[in-house]
């Protein structure tokens, strides 16, 4: 059920991000969602792409340091308080969220949240139990 996320180490210097996205673009990889965590020295670019196998191969060939992990994707309403509702569910289930990022669909009145937690299974069960729809890589590609 989970979503595959790639984390890429990006040195904090001029043009570093552009050359990374350029490598992906030239190989026809589309970034569907992204978030960045940064320090003074470097950034961690977390991306969800339409073809994670191709992206991994290309990035490795270009000597990028990458880490692929499973994250949880969940569909929420595009309205105030929707995110709070989903987070409350996890909180009540005793699940800590390491980080999260959200993006909106182009057509539907929905938003999507990507959650990084320690136990994906527990988070998924809690959210599904509360009536939330989980999403997959395939869903993201279709949006």
């Amino acid at each position: 059920m989970a979503i595959k996320q790639l984390t890429v180490y990006v040195q904090n210097k001029k043009g570093a991000m552009a050359s990374l996205t350029d490598v992906l673009a030239k190989n026809d990889v589309n970034i569907r969602a992204l978030s960045i965590a940064e320090t003074e020295d470097f950034g961690l670019l977390r991306i969800i792409v339409d073809n994670e196998t191709a992206a991994t191969k290309i990035l490795e060939e270009n000597s990028y340091l990458i880490k692929a992990i499973d994250v949880v994707g969940v569909k929420i309403g595009d309205k105030p308080g929707a995110l709070t509702g989903a987070l409350d569910v996890l909180d009540k289930a005793g699940i800590d969220v390491e980080y999260l990022y959200a993006f909106m669909a182009r057509t539907e009145k929905h938003a999507y949240v990507v959650l990084r937690v320690e136990d994906n299974g527990a988070a998924e069960a809690a959210l599904e139990g509360a009536g939330y729809h989980l999403i997959t890589n395939a869903d993201i590609c279709k949006l």
Binding site: Q5, T7, Y9, V10, Q11, A37, T39, D41, F42, L44, R46, S63, L65, I66, K67, I69, E98, Y99, R116
Partner: protein
């Protein structure tokens, strides 16, 4: 473990007897040098010291130092103390830091040098039953000729392989059951890796001991080589200026190298003031050749930083021990008043599971030294969690603080972003010098 010695009387001599022997030799040596080397005579005259002022080791501090710069000034014959007719050999340094040093040897000098190497081989468990593979370079470099001569003296079957041609090294090692390997530690590691790739397990390799030197190596590297080859790895120290390998050698205790102090008297000095420091102090190692005839250096500053110890050794040798050099005076950085050697950073990185690829950046901001260390992130340690990466940086900084006594700011940088060494790596960027 039963101990064998090559020259037991010398190697286990009491401290008083040794000092007496050294004193007698020094008095003779100073006279020899003063009479035969104009360069040295001028240095001594400048300092107002005459040979008769030197009545024993206690007067050694009165003599001037000699440094690498003097050797360059005096190139090639300026420090020669014997007529060329009496010399039978030269050896030379690689000359990577400037003009080559050319050292001359009489037959007696060669004999004493080979004795020193023989002591090292016996201390590593060698005897005439051993097959000794010498994979140091032969030629101008002292490594090959020194260990080759020592191996002959011990009576080992000597394989004069020289360095390189690893396939052939392995063929001879396995076909002829070499039991002792002499080479640089990096070459030993390389031979070990190649054997491993070829499917050899440590127990399939006939070697039992290795005598490795001529370049800096860490304790972690030693354990790695010992595990891959299934041997005990012994350190050996020397420099062309004094003779070559065998100035000091390790015994079974592996806690420092015994200096062949009947031939080479060691002092530790403060590199800034030249003052002789008491036993156990960290400082620059200085050697005086007590027996060398052709190229006798008195109080030669090695620029190696180390510590001497006369603590009783389990091997029974009484020869003073030197710690593995912690760095060179020319590598040493003083940051916030603390001596820092790049090799210490390297040790921390290897301990913590990082590649020894790093860069130290020192600067001065508002009259305070800043101390940054860039270290390459590894694929194994990389994670998507920022907090984990920051924790890794903190943990590395703590490990460095424990080692150095001062706190660096550590940055984990992208792999391969620190230039690989082509020739000599730029490990230190000291921006303070630019101001």
């Amino acid at each position: 473990m039963a101990q064998n010695y090559y020259q037991k009387e010398i190697e286990t001599m009491s401290a008083e007897e040794m000092r007496k022997l050294q004193s007698e030799k020094l008095v003779k040596q100073v006279k020899h040098v003063y009479e035969n080397v104009e360069y040295y005579r001028n240095l001594m005259d400048e300092k107002g010291v005459k040979p008769e002022d030197i009545r024993g080791i206690e007067d050694l501090h009165k003599l001037p130092f000699i440094s690498k710069a003097d050797l360059r000034d005096a190139y090639p014959y300026g420090l020669l103390a014997k007529p060329l007719e009496d010399c039978v050999r030269i050896q030379s340094t690689s000359g990577t830091t400037g003009r080559r040093v050319v050292a001359f040897y009489t037959q007696n000098d060669i004999d004493l040098w080979e004795d020193c190497c023989a002591r090292a081989i016996v201390a590593a468990g060698g005897s005439n039953k051993d097959v000794c593979q010498v994979a140091y370079g032969y030629g101008l470099f002292t490594g090959g000729p020194g260990l080759n001569g020592g191996s002959h003296k011990v009576g080992c079957l000597t394989l004069p392989m020289s360095s390189g041609n690893t396939e052939r090294q392995i063929q001879f090692m396995t076909d002829l059951s070499a039991t002792i390997l002499c080479c640089t530690p990096s070459y030993a590691a390389y031979i070990g890796e190649t054997l491993k790739e070829q499917g050899y397990k440590p127990e399939d390799i006939p070697l039992k001991a290795g005598i490795f030197g001529a370049e800096p190596w860490t304790e972690e590297m030693r354990r790695g080589i010992e595990n891959t080859l299934g041997i005990k790895a012994y350190d050996i120290y020397g420099l062309t200026e004094t003779t070559g390998p065998g100035v000091a050698f390790e015994c079974s205790e592996q806690t420092g190298m015994h200096i062949n102090e009947d031939h080479f008297y060691a002092e530790i000095i403060d590199p800034d003031t030249g003052e002789v420091l008491p036993e156990g102090s960290k400082g620059e190692l200085v050697f005086t050749s007590l027996d060398k005839e052709a190229f006798p250096l008195l109080r030669y500053r090695t620029r190696d930083i180390c510590v001497l110890s006369r603590k009783k050794c389990s091997c029974g040798r009484t020869l003073v021990k030197m710690a593995k050099p912690m760095g060179r005076t020319d590598d040493m950085l003083i940051i916030r008043g603390v001596n820092v050697f790049p090799s210490q950073i390297e040790t921390v990185l290897l301990n913590e599971g990082y590649e020894p690829n790093y860069q130290i950046i020192v600067d001065r901001v508002n009259n305070n030294d800043t101390f940054e260390v860039n270290v390459e992130m590894t694929a194994e340690k990389f994670t998507d969690k920022l907090s984990d990466i920051i924790a890794m940086e903190k943990s590395l900084a703590n490990a460095m603080k424990t080692m150095l006594g001062i706190n660096p700011s550590v940055h984990l940088v992208a792999p391969k972003s620190i230039a690989r060494s082509e020739g000599k790596a730029v490990r230190v960027i000291d921006k303070r010098k630019l101001i």
